[in-house]
């Protein structure tokens, strides 16, 4: 054995003692260290060189999970992040993105302060300005719009944000007088939310009680890699598998196996875009064999049986599904054998509690109207077996009570502006849409509405993240003033006139509601260290802009800063601010199931967010809300907009064949862009070198992109693994590395998301390819959802 090294020198010893004295307060280990210094020869001891150590709770923002975090701050430096054991979403765990967040905080490519463009747009020439200049300039522009009587010409695009921030943005824009507060939800979760609204009547993503489920059908919900709240799904999955006496079963239905398919008990590679047909065929078998929840169907649902619609016999869910979705018919559509469909239907209905999961983002829920119909079908399947509001089934998200926002001051300019059509066309051009983020570019280029004169971008990088995002650059030519709040000079911020960097999530005040478990809870994001650079919380900035504007806008924000706004808004959560700050969260744990038909069932579970149809506690197999929303459109008009079914079927969950872009003979494969656990959905994560290093674990790649193709097919076509190939769609082409994999349908190819950046920083830039560049930039005509998964491609050697 080696001899013990030279003991500490006197100098080191003193340094250590000083450190220990400082650390005593938090660590309480002075005695221990000193004792161990006198330890026997051959023992090891710890040398702690810090003087001050703190543990500060906050909430992660590397993906939409919103995990609780404990930051270990040593001498003012964030040296480690751990999951908060109190937080119900992650229960003390933290994924690689959260663990790597110190690289976001200390990223050398962060912007050091507010910048004003001096060169041409996109030239990258900037001059530093002060925050007061920035506030003055933005306030002046917005005042100018209001003075000219066109406050609606301001628009704000925002990305992932929860808690008070969404309502805050809406309030700010409403106070200015613009209806244009546009979320990027239309790129990902909007189809799932609309599908739930049109059936269950709540405008929410469904939550799933995986912990208690016996049988889970995952329809393209890549829950273990990139669900809506991946951390929550992983925790539920882990408990369902080995945390309890009986191991639950998971069936993953997705053209790509991925991690979820590999971990599932069964993987069913379905033809992309045909999930609705499979779901309805499962419903067909369940109805035929009488295994549905007859109490729910008879007493708490609408439109299961045929019904009388003002003298007309309307077709209900039952007869529609029985007539059109026999498993043998579905086999031809989906490529899943009829025997498998029947078996799964039997397993699903025979192993309660069973739950069907829809993807929280992207995947099969984009495409065309089929995405919405699929989301509706999944909800109906859960309702059919009585899994709605039941243990092991679907939970409905509840929120912490918040006081009402103070009324906006009376303001005729703003009131007129708010009545204007939205620039994205949601609610007008797209009759069912709430947001149509990707449509903004084309609608500005084609001058579909009024011109946009001030554009603000919060956590929004449409040039990168919207399909065919280059169009945004063209649209920017028509916008005289663009402000980006990006922490980095990203692809979109490059074309801005002002970049007003926001601090990273570890340096700012924000709240985040706890999503995924149903019960109400709030997480508090707080600065774990003083902001490193000359940045400003966008909340603070907009409050100051409002104050700098003319009355009455200046009166709409009676708060000093965003933190005091939060203190005001979170006053009713059930605890005081100090406790909230100390714990980083507050919740009312335990999901309280509502009994069918009682007042809470009607107020909170079924029909809460219906605007036009009755809030009567009936689940809609036949969507009344949808029929009210498109009441102006008769069958012909709907067909003209691209609906492929006529009559009552339009209001029922149905299957619409996907209209692919690209001729099948020329472009034989469907392109799928997948989000990975490593890089996640947020652009900035690509500039974290650690995440780049682990990015391609699923195929053994690091630092770059690849395209996945079925192994046997690849060899048949004469490809070798790791060949350089071109992937070409009708919209463009990309050159990248080919990886041949077994777990993949032969008619689909995958490109991982969040590579191929043209900006952001040294680690993200010019690395790999961005599959979204060659995807269909169109929007679905009814909902305004991005319909990019209907892109066909071909692949050939480079």
């Amino acid at each position: 054995m080696p001899k013990k090294n030279q003991p500490l020198s006197r100098r080191e010893f003193l340094k250590l003692s000083a450190g220990v004295i400082g650390a005593t307060a938090t660590m309480g280990m002075a005695r221990g260290l000193l004792t161990s210094l006198e330890a026997e020869e051959g023992e090891t001891y710890l040398l702690q060189t810090s003087t001050h150590e703190e543990i500060i709770p906050t909430v992660c923002l590397m993906c939409p999970s919103g995990c609780g975090m404990l930051a270990r701050v040593v001498d003012g430096n964030v040296v480690k992040l751990e999951g908060s054991p109190m937080h119900p979403i992650n229960l003390g765990a933290l994924c690689p993105k959260g663990q790597a967040a110190p690289e976001l905080l200390y990223n050398p490519d962060r912007l050091a302060g507010p910048l004003r463009r001096v060169g041409e747009r996109g030239s990258g020439e900037w001059e530093p300005i002060s925050w007061s200049q920035a506030i003055e300039q933005v306030a002046e522009k917005l005042n100018g719009l209001r003075d000219a009587g066109h406050p609606e010409r301001a628009a704000l695009l925002y990305g992932e944000t929860r808690g008070q921030m969404r309502k805050f943005f809406e309030r700010f824009m409403a106070a200015v007088g613009s209806p244009n507060t546009i979320s990027h939800d239309s790129l990902n979760i909007e189809a799932a939310k609309l599908g739930t609204l049109f059936t269950q009547g709540v405008y929410e993503l469904p939550n799933y009680d995986l912990e208690n489920a016996s049988y889970v059908l995952s329809f393209g919900a890549n829950l273990l890699e990139a669900g809506r709240v991946p951390e929550r799904m992983v925790a539920g999955y882990s408990y369902m598998r080995r945390g309890r006496a009986e191991r639950g079963k998971i069936v993953h239905i997705d053209p790509r196996q991925g991690v979820t398919g590999a971990k599932a008990d069964e993987w069913i590679p379905i033809k992309p875009g045909t999930d609705a047909a499979l779901i309805l065929a499962i419903a067909n078998v369940i109805i035929k064999t009488g295994q549905f929840d007859s109490d729910f169907v008879r007493n708490y649902s609408f439109g299961f049986e045929d019904f009388d619609d003002n003298g007309r016999n309307a077709v209900g869910f039952k007869s529609y599904v029985l007539a059109n979705f026999d498993p043998r018919q579905a086999e031809n559509i989906t490529g899943v054998p009829a025997t498998t469909i029947s078996r799964i239907a039997g397993e699903f209905a025979g192993n309660p509690p069973a739950v069907a999961i829809m993807p929280g983002k992207g995947g099969l829920l984009s495409g065309n109207l089929n995405g919405l119909a699929t989301a509706m079908a999944i909800n109906c399947l859960n309702a059919l077996v009585g899994s709605l509001e039941a243990p092991g089934g679907v939970l409905t998200q509840r929120y912490m009570p918040c006081p009402d926002w103070p009324d906006l001051p009376s303001d005729s300019i703003a009131e007129a502006g708010r009545e204007a059509e939205r620039v994205d066309g949601a609610g007008s051009f797209f009759p069912l849409g709430k947001h149509a983020y990707q449509a903004v570019a084309d609608r500005i280029i084609e001058e579909k509405t009024y011109p946009v004169e001030v554009l603000m971008l919060y956590d929004a990088n449409p040039v990168y993240e919207a399909p065919g995002g280059e169009r945004f650059i063209q649209a920017f030519d028509k916008i005289p003033f663009i402000v980006s709040f990006s922490t980095f000079e990203d692809e979109t911020a490059q074309y801005a006139d002002l970049i007003l960097p926001e601090p990273t999530f570890l340096e700012r005040w924000q709240d985040d509601h706890i999503e995924g478990l149903g019960y109400p809870g709030v997480g508090l994001r707080q600065p774990v260290i003083e902001p490193l650079l000359d940045t400003m919380n966008t909340g603070d900035f907009l409050i100051e802009v409002a104050h700098a504007m003319h009355a009455p806008v200046s009166e709409a924000f009676p708060w000093e800063d965003y933190k005091s706004l939060l203190q005001d808004r979170l006053v009713d959560v059930g605890t005081d601010w100090e406790t909230l700050q100390e714990l980083g969260l507050w919740l009312t744990p335990g999901y309280r199931f509502s009994r069918r038909g009682n007042p809470r069932w009607i107020d909170e579970v079924i029909g809460r967010d219906r605007k036009l149809s009755p809030r009567d506690g009936y689940f809609d197999f036949y969507s009344r809300e949808l029929s009210c929303l498109v009441a102006d459109l008769d069958g012909d008009a709907r067909e003209a907009m691209g609906a492929q079914v006529s009559g009552d079927a339009f209001f029922l969950p149905h299957y619409e064949p996907v209209n692919y872009e690209g001729d099948e003979a020329e472009f034989p494969y469907m392109l799928n862009v997948v989000t990975l656990m490593s890089l996640g959905p947020y652009s900035v994560a690509a500039n974290l070198p650690t995440l780049q290093e682990i990015s391609g674990m699923v195929v053994g790649e690091r630092w770059g992109s690849w395209v996945e193709l079925n192994h046997d097919l690849g060899h048949e076509l004469g490809f070798e693994d790791k060949d350089q190939v071109w992937v070409e769609s009708p919209f463009g082409k990309l050159k990248t590395k080919l990886r041949l994999v077994e777990g993949m349908r032969p008619d689909v190819i995958n490109i991982p998301h969040n590579q191929g950046h043209k900006a952001i920083g040294r680690w993200a830039k010019d690395r790999g390819v961005n599959g979204l560049e060659i995807m269909n930039p169109a929007s679905e005509p009814f909902t305004g959802l991005a319909s990019f998964t209907n892109t066909r491609v071909k692949i050939y050697k480079a």
Partner: protein
Amino acid sequence: MTNWSMVVDLDKCVACQGCSIACRFENNTPVVSPEEAALGRSILWNDVLPMPINPTEDIGEYPHSRRRYLTRPCMHCENPPCVKVCPVQATYRDEEGIVRQNYDRCIGCRFCTVACPYGVRYFNWETPSWSPEMARHLSPERVVGQGSLEGPAVRPKGVVEKCTFCIHRLQKARARAESEEREFRAEEYTPACVQTCTAKARFFGDMDDVTATASILASSPRAFRVLEDVGTHPKVIYLQEG
């Protein structure tokens, strides 16, 4: 004497790689350049690997193929081949069953990296470097004693480094117990990868304590050790899927 070991339940593990990155930030392993990474020189003490490593050799044929993933820390073998080949006794197995590395003694001959059947010994081909900003997140802790400079302190170029089961956490937990004048309990010591595990798939504890969760799980009928047949007696025990 304690006998530290780890159990990983592969039925729970979802290959998220949280362990890989928790380890990096706990132990200050450097990011290597993309070119170095392509040569297999990444220093991730606990990497996650698709099995088999070459994806074209997937087990089974479409659509019945099934990819597997393996999270792989140092196995802290009871019979470690790395120790036998080290010409300068830089690596050794301590009395608590942790295979350790003395960076001061290491001469960088890399015999151990070849001898290790698990590929969990990492050579510093370059001087680890961080930009001044990035260097601020480095953990300031050091362990001194037998394995001088062992623990998170940044290693120099030309030495081999490896998983230590976060030995500085053990030292810290012991020191705390001592300062509070009480017995140290095995549960107080948890490596970073176990703490962060998203699926709660990892268990750590004293294998000699029959009541410890890890040792109960290690006797599960699902338990197996990787490359058991080469006689290394690994002390990281996996539980099969399904």
